[in-house]
């Protein structure tokens, strides 16, 4: 085990030119990691419900606090972004949308859908 590589290993982000395609791909991963932390809130919600009314009220007061709502807004956007770009990645995996205009169009479509779904989700909660 002495063949340790000294050269930079891919992906070495510092040499990429920033553009929508790579930014969306990185954001897909970043939102995925953020959502993994969000799963602990899902677990907390369920455990609070299983623990009784006091624990559940405590959970509701923390999530209902403006800071909690702010975090949930961020997580909900991460969720819908990861959903939309994830569906796009499934198309890319099957070999579709690989022409340059298509890859840009599907990228912007996914972004618009993510913003629209997040807005609809919060409008449904408020009204």
């Amino acid at each position: 085990m002495t063949d340790k590589t000294e050269r930079p290993l891919s992906p070495h982000l510092q040499i990429y030119k920033w553009q929508i395609t790579m930014a969306m791909s990185i954001m897909h991963r970043a939102t995925g990691v953020a959502l993994t932390f969000g799963l602990f809130i899902l677990g907390w919600w369920l455990l609070a419900a299983a623990s009784g009314p006091e624990a559940y009220d405590q959970f509701r007061s923390i999530i209902g606090h403006p800071a909690g709502v702010f975090v949930m807004m961020g997580l909900s956007f991460c969720l819908f972004y990861h959903l939309c770009t994830g569906i796009r990645h499934l198309f890319l995996d099957s070999g579709l949308f690989f022409k340059i205009p298509e890859i840009y169009a599907s990228g912007y479509t996914a972004l618009v859908c993510a913003v629209a779904l997040t807005a609809m989700f919060w409008l449904a909660i408020v009204f």
Partner: protein, 138 residues
């Protein structure tokens, strides 16, 4: 090439003649085959309807107190879907985080430690979620 030269060439090659066979069996640089890739996509596809169900449910449950939420979760349909959602999301998260760790952590020991820690924590979370739903529903 004399036999002596070939022998020293094989001996100097790390792992001798076994290397090409292990690579042919999918044990090359990735140390595994395509199972991870397939599982990641399968859990992703299953997550799509579950995500819409969860979002729709949350919209209806935002103002619910403990008794209302427990009554909702105790319905078999909701309990089953909630367990499926937790397991599918956590499974998908474990697979996704594994790729991120493999791609961005280049220290082998730190990488392995991080992968084990991540999977153990997510497994505990999955057990906790399933237990919580069952405790409410049963």
């Amino acid at each position: 090439m004399a036999y002596g030269d070939l022998g020293s060439l094989i001996k100097s090659h790390k792992g001798g003649l076994k290397v090409p066979l292990t690579q042919a069996r999918g044990l090359g640089a990735a140390h595994q085959g395509v199972h991870h890739w397939i599982a990641q996509r399968m859990t992703a596809i299953v997550s799509i309807p579950l995500l819409f169900w969860l979002a729709w449910s949350i919209i209806g449950l935002v103002h619910a107190d403990h008794a209302t939420f427990v009554a909702w979760l105790a319905k078999p349909c909701n309990a089953i879907l909630m367990i499926l959602t937790c397991v599918t999301f956590i499974w998908h998260a474990a697979l996704g985080c594994q790729v991120v760790v493999e791609d961005y952590l280049h220290s082998e020991w730190f990488k392995i430690a991080k992968l084990i820690a991540m999977k153990v924590v997510l497994f505990v979370l999955a057990v906790a979620c399933v237990f919580a739903v069952l405790k409410v529903a049963l």
